[in-house]
Amino acid sequence: MSLAGYVAKRVAQAIPTLFGAMLVMFILVRILPGDPARLIAGPEALEQDVERIREQLGLNRPIYVQFVDYMSSILRGDFGTSIKYRTPVIQEIIARLPYTLLLAAAAEAIAVAIAIPLGILSALRPRSKVSYAVSIVSLIGASTPIFWIGLIFIYIFAVSLRILPSSGAESPKHLILPAVTLSLLLMGNLTRITRASVIEALGSNHVITAMSKGLVQRVILVRHVLRNAMIPIVTIMGIQIGALLGGAVITETVFAWPGIGSLLVDSLFYRDYPLAQGIILFIVMVFIAINILVDVIYAYIDPRVREILWRGGRS
């Protein structure tokens, strides 16, 4: 199957998932305590005002009609209106999205730049001190709460040493601590998987074939070991995007980084549920899109996959 055909199939597969996600969000919002109409109207409003808003929002109609309305609005880009800001949710999201993207990209870049070389090195020298140190550090990294380590970093670098700012996003220097903190979330697992998959690739039989052909060591390493090791590594990177997005929420809160993550937490604090659910749904949609992208990349680097169309995910 060609790559294009695979992409099409993968997108088609994602549609029911998207539908399901919207359904879940819709249900969750409905379970919420409190009357959305009253929330919007405010505590002082009169009963008829609340009733008017309720009609405006269409809360009187049957539930499935509401759901269809909901879906069509989302697909049109209308994620609702924020109670607090009184502006469209999508507008608030777009305004702060670049910050989150920047943070996520920076954290991913740092994690990849450190974890993959470390993992490869540690695989090539399995019993060295490097290898041992790497496994210890990655284990500790995977067990540390990021909000805590973020605060510790703030204390060390902003309060004690005073070399980095503690919050906000005014200058490039402000990006350093949040990005490093977030990258720690990814580094632990990424190092371990890189190491494991390079070790496995090193032991594969086609490496012996490559050696028997008389190829140079370097070529064998790059072409037959690393290239094959990339497959599980890319897989794990794709899976980690979820943790990246979730971790961004926490990191932005700790460092008061003005992205959609901190916006989400704030909106929950202020009970601005339209905004909160809009952000969550938006992130989920982005996540679904990224997953499709990762699967396509995966199909590109592993030709065997193009023949298989699995259900749900890889095992």
């Binding site: 594969s204 039989n205 490559a210 028997s212 052909k213 190829l215």
Partner: protein, 326 residues
């Protein structure tokens, strides 16, 4: 006849935490130009280790402890890695057992074969693809122009094995070491592959070392056969002679197990391969040997040459007071 390979008293041990495994323990034989030399033995007999050693592909914990491997007069064990690399693929090549795992799934088969040319002639593999097409034709892969761009998973087992063979003959090596090349294939495909190898030997004059546990197969295709047991040589001789007149008890037992249809009973050899970490004292086969004598449990027999046949057994030669048993 020209000698391509001379192995003298080769010992290869595996150094493992649980002990030292003497996988190859004093093996000597020669290979001549253009012959098909079969090596037969059960798993654990050391034949695969031998194969890897000849190509210089042994990795730790395996280590060549002593002995010599002379290829065209050069001692392979004294060469450095770059010199060995130049020989591998060009003068000595290998065919492996399981084409599925010995081919890289992420590259096309054509590119992987072209890599042989790249390794020894330089440049990028891509430019040798047309030569690969010719090779594919030679190994009877149908529709070679298309197949060159196919991935391994798009090919059948037999076809993949032909790909491996084409890889092995690409640079017209003097010696091809085939380690169980047909064991993973259907019987019908086996026959085709074996015939293909025969043809290659005829057309290119390469010598082939054919390693397998299937003695029957060797009796059909090989010129000479070496029977290995537990890291040692039991017997070496011409295929017809061994078939007619096996000398070593192990050989006799192997042949008997093949001829079961005549006896109407499957004759297996009682017992199993000894532990290679602490092999029994004396001849390694004696616990399972029906001809075992007292001396067999005490000393290891030397190899004796009887009219061109090599055999290591106290039944023959004059270890035993000059008695020349048949």
């Amino acid at each position: 006849m020209e000698k391509i390979l001379e192995i003298s008293d080769l010992r290869i041990y595996y150094y493992l935490p649980q002990g030292i495994i003497k996988a190859v323990d004093g093996v000597s034989f020669d290979i001549y130009k253009g012959e098909i030399f079969g090596i037969a033995g059960e798993s654990g007999s050391g034949k695969s280790t031998l194969a890897l050693a000849i190509s210089g592909l042994l990795r730790p914990p395996a280590k060549v402890v002593s002995g010599r491997i002379l290829f065209m007069g050069r001692d392979l064990l004294s060469l450095d890695s770059e010199e060995l690399r130049k020989i591998r693929g060009k003068e000595i090549s290998m065919i492996f057992q399981d084409p599925s795992t010995y081919l890289n799934p992420v590259y096309t088969t054509g590119l992987q074969v072209a890599e042989v040319f790249e390794a020894h002639r330089g440049g990028s593999a891509r430019k040798y693809l047309s030569m690969v097409v010719k090779l594919f034709r030679m190994v009877k892969i149908a529709d070679p122009e298309r197949r060159v761009n196919a991935y391994p998973h798009q090919m059948s087992g037999g076809m993949k094995q032909r790909v491996l063979i084409s890889m092995a003959i690409a640079e017209r090596p003097k010696l091809i070491v085939a380690d169980e090349p047909t064991s993973a294939l259907d019987v019908t495909i086996q026959a085709e592959i074996v015939e293909l190898l025969n043809e290659i030997r005829r057309e290119t004059g390469s010598s082939i070392i054919f390693i397998t546990h299937d003695l029957a197969l060797l009796l059909e295709i090989a010129d000479r056969i070496m029977i290995m047991y537990a890291g040692k040589v039991a017997e070496i001789g011409r295929a017809e002679e061994i078939a007619k007149d096996p000398l070593h008890p192990y050989t006799k037992a192997l042949l008997a197990s093949l001829r079961y249809e005549r006896k109407k009973r499957l004759q297996s050899i009682p017992g199993s391969i000894p532990s290679l970490i602490s092999p029994p004292p004396g001849c390694r086969f004696h616990p399972r040997c029906q001809y075992a004598m007292d001396i067999c449990s005490k000393r290891d027999p030397d190899s004796i040459n009887i009219n061109g046949r090599i055999v290591s057994c106290f039944l023959y030669g004059d270890h035993h007071g000059g008695d020349f048993k048949r």
